[in-house]
């Protein structure tokens, strides 16, 4: 996916929010963090990437056919569905069959700890549970591009961790995830794009380490790390300066992990 000379302004004479953006998304999939001050155009960039907003200038090409977007807040008043009902509709809109949409809706609600609310009307759910439904919608159909606009906001700690893991899995399967989040330690292995003064520049990625471990399924993982499970192995991406601390936690937790490799 490529952005060529992309600009966006609101109104014919409005100031340019973004201008002359030339970017390519990592071809084999990956995770990109978009950074910038409030009002710098981060959300505008995300909406352009997701196809919700059209560029006023330039063009965007090669967007994956399955694109999903998760907004920061998901007020569900005015959506006359149960959580599962809405997810099944959106799953079908994403191109899934009815049965598959229903099964996956159940699985994702379960992963985010909202299985008990599957049959509840959306407008009776708490803000946090609504946000879990919106996040489940984003992951439902294995999107080739997932755009998360502060999707972690409003989630409880367990669901935030579950979203980190889900993003890691999606990227490991070759999809691209682009996100904005105000927690600077979120998904530390991600590429970074800096938005400032209408321009977007790829920033140097902070050094990080990948720790590969194996161990029993119930072994706990340290919080706030990107974990990708492949078979019985788990790869953890952590900022370089936290690598020793995470290793210590992995070796001393109960039951302990066994470390298979560390790379930078």
């Amino acid at each position: 996916m490529r952005l060529e000379g992309v600009g966006r302004r609101y109104g014919v004479r409005g100031p340019w929010v973004l201008r002359g953006v030339e970017l390519g998304l990592p071809p084999g999939g990956g995770v990109v963090r978009v950074e910038g001050a409030n009002g710098s155009g981060k959300s505008t960039l995300l909406r352009l990437l997701a196809g919700i907003d059209r560029p006023s200038a330039g063009r965007i090409s090669g967007r994956p056919s399955r694109t999903a977007y998760v907004p920061e807040r998901f007020p569900a008043t005015g959506l006359p569905f149960t959580a599962r009902g809405w997810l099944v509709h959106l799953g079908r809109v994403h191109g899934l069959g009815s049965g598959e949409a229903r099964a996956r809706a159940g699985e994702w609600l379960e992963r985010f700890g909202a299985a008990e609310f599957a049959g509840a009307p959306l407008d009776e759910l708490s803000k946090g549970t609504c946000q879990k439904v919106a996040v489940a919608q984003g992951l439902l159909a294995d999107p080739g591009l997932l755009v998360l606009d502060e999707a972690w906001t409003g989630l409880d700690a367990a669901a935030r961790g579950a979203l980190d893991v889900a993003v890691g899995e999606l990227a490991a399967r070759g999809s691209t995830v682009v996100f904005v989040d105000h927690d600077p330690s979120r998904l530390p292995g991600a590429d970074r794009w800096q938005v400032a003064a209408g321009a977007v520049t790829p920033a140097r990625t902070a050094p990080y380490a990948v720790i590969t471990v194996s161990g029993p399924e119930d072994a706990p993982l340290p919080p706030d790390v990107v974990a990708v499970r492949t078979g019985d192995r788990v790869s953890l991406t952590v900022p370089d300066e936290r690598a020793d601390e995470v290793l210590r936690e992995l070796l001393t937790c109960e039951p302990p992990w066994s470390v298979r490799g560390v790379s930078r």
């Binding site: 919700i52 998901f74 007020p75 006359p80 959106l90 159909a141």
Partner: protein, 234 residues
């Protein structure tokens, strides 16, 4: 409608239309325009009056409700949810699905209204002298109603978002547009209704297929324009 669905991308658009119809039905938003239509019929139609005259009136009464249904459907989804659907399928298709859901609602009203009018009116000419065959009368009434429903959808598509934004412009434009397509001499809705009333005077039933085809073409063009604007403005 099937052809429109297929040329716009097959299955996922069917899923979008299904979603939009569910939004319309489950949210009970269809009730207000349906009640408006029923109220106009209740005021304007009396039992035992000549069938074609009443069918012409019923068809014309459908146009404002059809335009209102479009207004409801294109604004039914909350913004956050709409962002998710648009990311999945694009703004143009999402908008087309809303228009098709409104059309499905309007056609349901056309069917119900035509049936109700036929049940209470006298299947004879205006002077109650010439007896009319029920099936051709029903077909002519339904064709006129569908023509008026289509034009109501066309008005709704052009008078609401994304073409006109904000209730200050949309509401009067929807109302005036719906009345204009009924009274304008060149309008196929006017032609269909006039055809029924003239037929009633002469004791003949003419199927208004010309006006129907013209109404379908006008509506397709209006929908295409609205979807194109939606795609451009996001």
């Amino acid at each position: 409608m099937r052809a429109a669905v297929e040329c716009a991308g097959g299955e996922p658009v069917t899923a979008l239309v299904r979603y939009q119809c569910a939004l319309l039905v489950r949210g009970h938003r269809w009730l207000a325009p349906a009640v408006l239509y029923a109220a106009i019929l209740a005021i304007g139609i009396r039992g035992g009056e000549p069938a074609l005259d009443s069918l012409g009136f019923a068809a014309a009464a459908l146009t404002p409700s059809a335009a209102w249904l479009v207004r409801i459907c294109v604004g039914a989804e909350p913004d956050a949810a709409r962002a998710c659907t648009v990311a999945a399928r694009g703004a143009a298709r999402t908008h087309l699905a809303a228009l098709l859901a409104a059309l499905a609602g309007a056609l349901t009203l056309a069917l119900a209204g035509t049936g109700a009018v036929l049940a209470v009116s006298d299947p004879r000419s205006s002077d109650h002298e010439v007896r009319l065959d029920v099936l051709p009368t029903a077909a002519a009434g339904l064709t006129a109603a569908v023509s008026c429903a289509l034009l109501g959808v066309a008005v709704g598509a052009l008078a609401n978002r994304p073409v006109l934004r904000g209730p200050a412009r949309s509401v009067p434009a929807t109302l005036i547009g719906a009345l204009a397509v009924l009274v304008a001499g060149v309008s196929p809705a006017n032609a269909a209704v006039t055809g029924l009333v003239t037929g009633s005077r002469h004791g003949t039933v003419d199927l208004p297929l010309g006006p129907l085809a013209l109404a379908a073409a006008v509506t397709a063009a209006a929908a295409a324009a609205a979807c194109a604007v939606s795609g451009r403005r996001g």
